[in-house]
Amino acid sequence: MTTHPAPTATVVSFENVSKSYGDVRAVADLSLTLNPGETVALLGPNGAGKSTTLDLLLGLRPADTGTVSVFGTTPTDAIAAGRVGAMLQSGGLMEEVTVREIVTLACDLHRRPHPVNEVLSRAGIDQIADRKVNKLSGGQEQRVRFALATAGDNDLIVLDEPTTGMDVTARQAFWATMREQADRGRTVLFATHYLEEADAIADRVLVLHKGRLLADGTASEIKAKAGARRIAFDLEGVIDEPALRELPFLTSFDVSARTVRIQSTDADATVHAIYSLGLYPRNLEVAGLGLEQAFVAITEAEEAKAA
């Protein structure tokens, strides 16, 4: 069966999708598109609507309004066709069976299954294959869930907070396996609140806040959108604060003792202007904001707008 999509086809599309639970709007007028081969991070604080977005994408809940399509069809049909593998935060496991049995089940239920042993070893659970599912540690359970999500030849893999409960080594091993999947041309979408994961792994970051899409771009674009780069330097003699505050492209300003710390949307121009004032900054540092700071900046700006 060669039902792989043409490389240009859209993998996932949300068109003006909204979903509420009673009075709470979990997802508000969300529109987005995922393209083949992308590794996309869905980033947001708790309650941002990440899990609801994934539920809608997987057809586990119906949208109130708007359309969700996966490979040009409904999520349910795309799943039935064996094109989507998913690892849910809330996905439980069958009890009283062994790891091998549950993985065999997942392979049996898949339209385009991989061999069971291959799935076990790729997920790193071949050593514990004969153990009962209800006797596993949190990290081992996560790997079993990962095995269920990769039991067959999926074109899209959806992961909801996949590394929860894993230690650092396990987390790195996990992302190495995940990258292998992405390198084979699969589209990977993962929800996370570990910003470093989004920064290190994703080609593209979607920032979700209160059910709305705040930003969509590469990690560095998101950082740029948040305003910026940090500039810090020391000055000798009397510091002329009013003149410094007039520097171009500033987004924040702070002086303590001899050290000036500013943030600028155009660090090159700001530094040039500092020299043009005839100042001679010492220990000059220019650094990008971490994604975390960028994220805080974006969501704070949004809260301020809403207030």
Partner: protein, 246 residues
């Protein structure tokens, strides 16, 4: 799908405590209830002795208990733990899920029935022809599948703490009104009419027809079949629509 059916059966067999008590329960109940029953007095309006009536009633009741209680509670628990959500991310159709649950129920009910029969023959000296024993086992076993399907449906309608009371109400209501605890001929007329349309009544009637040396009535078979379609179809629909979140 065959792997799921196999695993569901294996899980049930591995659950030793559940198997042990499910199998023992109807036999104990039979001994308690039937110990005082006369082996010469007839059930009003039939040629059936009370003793023989209780053999079939308790075998049916025991099979029904095991699947109704077993399925509804286990499924409600599985939904809460999120296993059903995970399963819905596979290409498994709703009927596959329901079928596997019914199959796992059938594994419990067969020994329930056989053990009640053995106990009745050994302890109470109940005697039937060989074909009757076999036919009784067959019809009671097949009929229990209807209630396995009902158990699946209840597991989807109710959740959390509500499962047990809801199951109990349906379980006792159907058992008593359907005549599994006492012959329905002791009921007032209007209640007897209601009773004939219940799945439990049709279920008990299958066995009673065989006990009296007849084939089961086609009306009872049709009623059970209709309930089976209703319960299993409803369960499959609810499986697909389930939005319960852990």
């Amino acid at each position: 799908m065959t792997t799921l059916i196999r695993l569901e059966i294996l899980r049930t067999l591995r659950n030793r405590k559940f198997m042990f008590f499910s199998i023992l329960y109807p036999s104990i109940l039979y001994l308690i209830i039937a110990s005082g029953a006369s082996s010469t007095d007839k059930v009003p309006g039939t040629s059936l002795t009370l003793q023989n009536f209780y053999v079939v009633a308790m075998a049916s009741f025991g099979a029904l208990t095991a699947v109704l209680m077993g399925n509804s509670e286990r499924i409600a628990k599985e939904r809460e733990k999120g296993w059903v959500r995970q399963l819905r991310l596979t290409s498994l159709p709703g009927r596959g899920y329901v079928l596997a649950k019914i199959a796992s129920g059938a594994v419990v009910t067969l020994p329930c029935i056989v053990v009640v029969f053995i106990v009745s023959a050994v302890a109470k000296n109940v005697r039937f022809d060989a074909w009757q024993w076999l036919a009784l086992t067959g019809v009671i076993w097949a009929g229990s599948l209807v209630f396995a399907a009902l158990g699946v449906a209840i597991g989807y309608i109710a959740s959390g703490d509500a499962v047990r009371p809801i199951t109990m109400i349906i379980y006792f209501g159907l058992s008593i009104l359907g005549g599994l605890w006492m012959p329905t001929t002791v009921f007032p007329d209007w209640l007897q009419t209601v009773s004939t349309w219940l799945p439990t009544h049709a279920y008990a009637a299958l066995g009673q027809a065989v006990e009296m040396g007849n084939a089961p009535h086609s009306k009872d078979v049709a009623i059970l079949f209709a309930y089976f379609l209703l319960f299993s179809g409803g369960a499959a629909y609810l499986y697909r629509k389930d939005t319960l979140k852990a």
